[in-house]
Each structure stands twice: as structure tokens, then as C-alpha cells.
Amino acid sequence: MSAIAMDAATLWWVLGTALTFLGLGVMLAAPALLRKLLAFNVMGSGVFLVLLALRPRGPDGVADPIAQALVLTGIVIAIASTALGLMLARRYHLATGRDSLPEDAPEGTDD
């Protein structure tokens, strides 16, 4: 990586891409609900990194304030989604004792 001349922003969007697809892969493949939610958050962090790192900085080295505001809003929405997911997972766990959703039933069969 260091062989290529890379500016600081590039490093961060490369990391953002890596985190995005790391999270995406685990989100799709992992069965456990808690792990899926962790993966969603890691993926989200990756996307936020890409969003911010792509924007050029202001003259004083401060990141684009609009992009910062978007990321801040995104973080709050992500935490709200995570909290909702955790509460649903906990209620589901209380009701069934399971910490993952049942495997997909063959399509069209009644549940």
C-alpha cells in the first residue's frame, strides 16, 4: 500500500471500502442477530468514512461541515436503528430462547 503515493484522504476511503464490505459480508452471512447488528454498524462506519473522506477539506484543514453534519445525522439514525434491532432481538430471545432467526423456510410454504 505504501508503495503507491497515497494522500491522506485516499487511505481513509480505502479503509472505508474495506470496512463497508467486511460489514456487508458478515451481515449477509452471520446467523446471530447481535453479530448482524455489529456488522451493520461496522458497515455504516465504513460508509461514513467514504462519505467524509471524498470531500475536499477547507483551507484550515477542517472537513466539509455539510459532510460532517450528514455523518452526524447518520450516526444518530444508526444508533436508533441498532437500539430498535437490539430491543426486538431481546424480545424475540425472551419469547423463543433463540438468538438468531430460523433459517429461511422454502419459499411459499406457510411459515
Partner: protein, 485 residues
């Protein structure tokens, strides 16, 4: 003065209502809801009465710095559509939740929040704001799907939530690419600033994937049937009539803005092909269902397929584009009214029978004639028989296909109608079988059947207004792509 107010109020009033009904005691919440609904009706009427397209700059800060709300005729049509669906569903909910005040208390604030989210999505002209409204609608829908607290409903809500979260991140990634290269978020300015290239095309594909996932286009549809079929009935109606339309309308808006700039011919054909597969596969699955609400839910998978067919013909500068646009709008309205009516009618029949199996419908035709009538009228629109909205939608698609010289689509439209007829008649046939045992009948408030009928009539006879609607929408699409809708 009123112009400054009207558009933001369409979002802020339902939000305020959600807060009020959440805080107030039951005996205040019910009358309060009707005051709120009347307020919304007045507001939407005032908006429609304003003939010119409206644009409101929030906070006085114009794009690219601020956010603007836009009410073109497409948005106004959708606001009216949402109002009508809500009127019927809120009426229905009064009867449905009469015996379960706890569920009613959970339902009310979420339903109003969802109304706000729908209106916000229809009015917004800002890509990031659309993301926020999409999340607002998605999380509200998840909460509504989990309303009963039944483990199956919880599992369905979790599946729904995970799909929504995935879609949210994909949408944001697409947004990051577009904002990164242009520095603007307003759709109007994005369409002007975006340059064709790998990055913008990938961004658009990401946005489309996210929205297709949220609209449940095959093969991204597996979350939908359990969530829609397993929810309490008023929620099923809202989810199928409105929530999937929110993501679809956002997709349609993005398409109208970006198709003139990016080369979307292949993507459009691809979406249409997926839509065609969804029509066939969804209908076949609906045919196999043993429970009425699951049948109606799988029918949504098929009907979502129709929504995506017009993308094959929505190409700038072709004669088919205007007809395809009309077809999209007609399908949104037709499916929305018909599917909501169908769920509401199904809810009446299930409550009367006390169980969810198709065989529980036996004898329903004589005991609950209104609900069965509503089911049949809604079915007529889904099949696409005249003079329903569904017929107008499919007729417009047919015209668009022929205008574009793509006649194989005609075969698909015919097959789809035949399959739809098969599963609709299968359900209705049970209703006309003689009842095995009369003692099982449970009373259902007549209000519920009437509200189902209201929507069913709109779906079945709405096609009579097609010409008026097409004429009203014409200025939106006539100048496309030079004049953006």
C-alpha cells in the same frame, strides 16, 4: 403566507399529531385523531387547489446549502392517495382495535409518524433528506410490523429491519459517491452536476439496489410476505399500500432526474425483466398459499413486479416515456387502493371466522357479503379488468410496450392477469362454499367492512378517471427530459 406553510405542514402536522396521540389518554386520543385527519384533508385539498407547482425553501436557505420541498403534480397525486388510504385505515382501526386498547395505543403514534414519513418522501427534493425519510418510514414500518409482539411477528419485523438496514447503508454509499463528486444534494442540482462515468453509474446502481430491496423486487423480496402477512390487519394495509410505494416513488424520482444524464437503458431493461419474473413467481407463490393474508402478501410480490415494468420504456425522448410514466402512477394508485382494500376485507373475514386458513372463508359470502364484495372488487383491479385502476395501469403498460415496439411484454401482461385471476378466484371460491358450521360466526363492526369497501370502490372504478389523471399529470412528463418534473 399560506404557501410558506402548506408543504412543511404536510410533514409537521402528522408529526405533531403523533406526539399528541402518544401523550394523551385514550379518550382524548380518538377524537384528537379525527381532528388531525380533518386538518390533513384540508391541507391536502389546499395543496391540490394550488395549480402551480410549489417549491418551499425551508428556513429560507436555498439549495445547495439548505433543503427544499417540491410539490409537483406527481407529489400532489400521492398526497391525495395517502390521505384516502389513511382515511379508510384509521376508520377501520377504530373497529379493529376496539377490544385491544393496548395495541391501539401502540398503533396510533406510529401510524401518524408513518404518514409524516410518506408525505416527507413525496415532497423532498434532497437526496440525504430522502435517506432520512426512508429510514423514518422503514423503522416505523418495522415497529408497526412488530406491533402484536407475537414471536412470529417479531421474527418478521427483525427480518424486515435487517433488510431496511442493509438498504440504508447501500443508499448512503451511493449518496456518498454522488455527493463526493458533485458537492450538492438537491436532486435538481445533482441532475445538472453529475457527469456520466463509472462512479456516477455505480452510485445510481447502489441507490437503485437499495430502493429495490425496500420495494421488495424479486429476488430481494423474501422479507415482505412474513412482515405484511403476519402484521395486524390495519398495519398490513398501510405497509402494502404505502410503505413500499415510498421507496418506489423515490426510485421513480431519481430515475426521472438521472435517466437524461446517465445511460440507463440496460438497467431499465434489467429492472423490467426482474419485474416480469416477480409477476410470474409471486403469482405462482400466491396460488400455493393456504392462508388468506399470506396469499394477499404474496400477491404484493407480483404486483411490485408490475411497478418495475415501466422502467423498460421510461427513456428520455421516446414517445413511450409519457405513457410509461402514467402507467407507473396508475399502478401505484391501483395496487395501493386494491391491496389495502384486500387486506382490510381479509381482516374482516378472518375475524368473523376466527382463523386464518382459506377454508375458514366458507360461507363468508352470505355472512359478510360486504367484505366479500370488497375482496372481489379489489381482485378485479389486481387482475386488471375494466374499469379498474389496475386495468388502466396494465393498458398503459401495453400501450407503452407497443409504442416502444417491444411486443413480447404483451404476453407477460396477459399471463400475469391470468395468474392473478387464478389466485383471486381461488380465494373467492371458498367464500361462496356453503358454511360448515354457523355457530362459529363472530360479530365484526360494520365500520370495518365499509372502510374496506371504500378503498375497493376506488380501485375498481378509479379507472374511469384515467383520462383526467393523465391530462393532469401531462405537464409533468410532457417536457421531460428538458423540463424536469
Amino acid at each position: 403566507m399560506t404557501e410558506v406553510f402548506l408543504l412543511p405542514l404536510a410533514v409537521l402536522l402528522p408529526l405533531l399529531m403523533a406526539c399528541c396521540v402518544h401523550v394523551s389518554a385514550d379518550r382524548f386520543a380518538r377524537p384528537l385523531q379525527w381532528v388531525g385527519a380533518l386538518g390533513m384533508a384540508t391541507l391536502v385539498l389546499a395543496l391540490v387547489a394550488h395549480d402551480a407547482p410549489m417549491r418551499t425553501v425551508l428556513g429560507g436557505w436555498e439549495a445547495p446549502l439548505g433543503i427544499e420541498l417540491v410539490a409537483d403534480r406527481l407529489a400532489k397525486t400521492l398526497l391525495v392517495f395517502t390521505l384516502l388510504v389513511y382515511a379508510a385505515v384509521l376508520l377501520y382501526a377504530e373497529g379493529y382495535f376496539a377490544q385491544s386498547p393496548i395495541e391501539a395505543r401502540r398503533f396510533r403514534p406510529l401510524a401518524w409518524l408513518l404518514w409524516a414519513a410518506c408525505n416527507a418522501a413525496f415532497l423532498s427534493d434532497d437526496l440525504f433528506n430522502l435517506y432520512v425519510t426512508l429510514e423514518l418510514a422503514g423503522l416505523t414500518a418495522v415497529g408497526l410490523a412488530a406491533l402484536s409482539g407475537h414471536p412470529k411477528a417479531l421474527a418478521a419485523a427483525l427480518r424486515y429491519l435487517l433488510a431496511a438496514l442493509l438498504a440504508a447503508n447501500l443508499f448512503l454509499l451511493g449518496l456518498a459517491l454522488l455527493y463526493g463528486s458533485t458537492g450538492v444534494l438537491s436532486l435538481r442540482m445533482l441532475a445538472a452536476a453529475v457527469e456520466p462515468g463509472t462512479a456516477s453509474l455505480l452510485a445510481f446502481v447502489l441507490l437503485v439496489t437499495a430502493l429495490a430491496l425496500k420495494t421488495a423486487l424479486l429476488p430481494l423480496h423474501t422479507w415482505l410476505p412474513p412482515a405484511h402477512g403476519g402484521a395486524v390487519t390495519p398495519v398490513s394495509a398501510l405497509l402494502s399500500a404505502l410503505v413500499i410505494k415510498v421507496s418506489f416513488v423515490i426510485l421513480l424520482k431519481l430515475w426521472l432526474h438521472f435517466a437524461p444524464v446517465l445511460d440507463l437503458v440496460v438497467l431499465g431493461q434489467g429492472l423490467a425483466v426482474m419485474g416480469a419474473l416477480a409477476v410470474v413467481w409471486g403469482s405462482l407463490l400466491a396460488l400455493r398459499q393456504q392462508r388468506l393474508k399470506m396469499l394477499v402478501a404474496y400477491s404484493t410480490v407480483a404486483q411490485v413486479g408490475y411497478l418495475f415494468l415501466p422502467f423498460a420504456w421510461l427513456r428520455p425522448g421516446t414517445p413511450a416515456a409519457a405513457v410509461a410514466f402514467d402507467a407507473s402512477v396508475l399502478q401505484i394508485l391501483g395496487h395501493g387502493f386494491a391491496k389495502a382494500a384486500m387486506f382490510l376485507a381479509a381482516g374482516v373475514l378472518l375475524r368473523a371466522a376466527g382463523r386464518d386458513g382459506l377454508e375458514g372463508l366458507q360461507g363468508a359470502a352470505s355472512r359478510q357479503p360486504l367484505a366479500v364484495f370488497a375482496l372481489a372488487l379489489a381482485g378485479i383491479s389486481l387482475i386488471g379488468l375494466p374499469p379498474s385502476l389496475g386495468f388502466s395501469a396494465k393498458w398503459s403498460m401495453l400501450q407503452a410496450a407497443l409504442l416502444a415496439g417491444q411486443w413480447p411484454w404483451v404476453l407477460l401482461l396477459l399471463t400475469g392477469s391470468l395468474l392473478t385471476a387464478a389466485y383471486v378466484f381461488r380465494a373467492i371460491r371458498y367464500a361462496f362454499l356453503p358454511a360448515p358450521d354457523v355457530s362459529e360466526l363472530r360479530p365484526v363492526p360494520a365500520l370495518m367492512s365499509y372502510s374496506a369497501l371504500l378503498l375497493a370502490v376506488l380501485a375498481a372504478f378509479g379507472g374511469l378517471g384515467t383520462a383526467t389523471l393523465a391530462a393532469w399529470l401531462e405537464i409533468e412528463i410532457a417536457g421531460w427530459p428538458e423540463a424536469l418534473p
